[in-house]
């Protein structure tokens, strides 16, 4: 797999994405299981609503690499899952991502909060070192990724998940701003 340029289509200015619209996109993509370690960026707009939504089975895991393994096991069934985590957890689980998601070409979908990224600023231009390195790492690993910064980006979620499953490949959806709870 070759490295891809960073998100040329991302809309970087605009209103934050709405949580309900992201949740609707997940349901449209037939995601039924959410594996999560709590993340500040997505806590109010996604995790709390998902926890109360009978349309999802929420599995709280202790560490992000666990969720990589669980999602891999689930991929042998018709169940679709996402990992709802923080970018720090993505970085922590890189070896599992390398071996399981990339090495075995597994349809593992990550929804990753970019904690403290400045609104409207591309991740690669963030003042925060941890944020700046996320996209280059994903590109070095050849992992498909999309920035969900504004409401206009939400439309990209369902096709990204559908492609992850139809092509059996990992995909990372980077959440750049806190989704609004309503």
């Amino acid at each position: 797999m070759t490295a891809r340029p960073a998100n040329p289509l991302a809309t970087i200015t605009g209103p934050p994405p709405s949580g309900p619209s992201i949740i609707a996109a997940l349901k449209d993509a037939k995601v039924g299981i959410v594996l999560s370690v709590p993340d500040i960026v997505t806590s109010a707009g996604l995790l709390f609503p998902i926890a109360g939504d009978a349309g999802f089975r929420l599995i709280r895991v202790c560490k992000e690499d666990e969720a990589v393994g669980i999602s891999a096991g689930l991929s042998y069934s018709a169940e679709r899952a996402i990992l709802l985590i923080q970018y720090t957890g993505l970085l922590d689980s890189i070896n599992a991502v390398r071996a399981v998601a990339v090495g075995y070409k597994m349809p593992i979908v990550f929804m990753v909060g970019l904690l403290e990224k400045e609104p409207g600023v591309p991740p690669s231009q963030s003042a925060l070192y941890g944020i700046r390195i996320v996209e280059p790492i994903l590109e070095a690993m050849g992992i498909e990724h999309h920035l969900i910064e504004t409401q206009a980006d939400v439309v990209r979620i369902r096709p990204a998940i559908e492609a992850a499953y139809s092509l059996s490949r990992p995909t990372v959806l980077l959440i750049g701003q806190r989704p609004l709870a309503s």
């Binding site: 599995i59 560490k63 393994g69 669980i70 096991g73 689930l74 069934s77 071996a99």
Partner: protein, 189 residues
């Protein structure tokens, strides 16, 4: 202490067609004793066997999922005990092959091997059914009843290497095994 290959021969006689997730030395021994398309070795990263197995258990509720974990491996993913206990899949059987060493990496000892109580950890994490076997006779006598219990079940096997199989990683992790596993499961349900 039981010899691992002898213990696995007994276990294999009780689970001829179950999904078995196995790692490292246990995987090499297991695949020789029970060659089967429903063996799952694609764990990828050390410690994740129980996590892969949890996903399989959730996605395949009609099948019994058996994990042959290592003690060094489990130490890398102790939180998985808590996660499994919380999800509580009724078809999940977690066997720990406790030999006190990182056998595949030169048999160096695991931390605190004379102190750590894996059965106690599993019980404290919330596994409702926990067993420990040190003798082949009692294992052979009780294993059918253990496998009849609702999961999650944790079984601590005190083992030493027996007649060990050669370590052929290329064969173990071959893409063809994953394809065969998927086909053996049948259409996604």
């Amino acid at each position: 202490m039981m010899k691992r290959d002898q213990c696995f021969r007994v276990l294999a006689s009780h689970c001829p067609d179950d999904v078995v997730v196995a790692v490292y030395s246990s995987a090499f021994d297991w695949v020789r004793i029970r060659p089967h398309a429903l063996n799952y070795f694609a764990v990828g990263a050390m410690g994740l066997a129980s996590s892969h197995a949890l996903g399989l258990a959730l996605g395949q509720p009609g099948r019994r999922i058996i994990v042959l974990d290592g003690d060094g491996s489990l130490l890398m993913n102790l939180g998985s005990l808590v996660t499994v206990a919380a999800v509580a899949p009724g078809n999940f059987y977690h066997f720990l092959c406790e030999n006190g060493t990182y056998e595949a990496n030169g048999a160096h000892p695991i931390p605190a091997r004379d102190k750590v109580d894996f059965s106690g950890l599993a019980r404290a994490a919330g596994y409702p059914n926990v067993h420990r076997f040190e003798e082949l006779g009692s294992f052979g006598r009780d294993i059918a009843a253990v496998l009849a219990e609702p999961g999650p079940v944790f079984v601590d096997l005190k083992l030493v290497p027996g007649e060990s199989a050669p370590a052929d990683y290329d064969s173990l992790y071959a893409a063809s095994r994953r394809d065969a596993f998927r086909q053996a499961l049948g259409p996604a349900r």
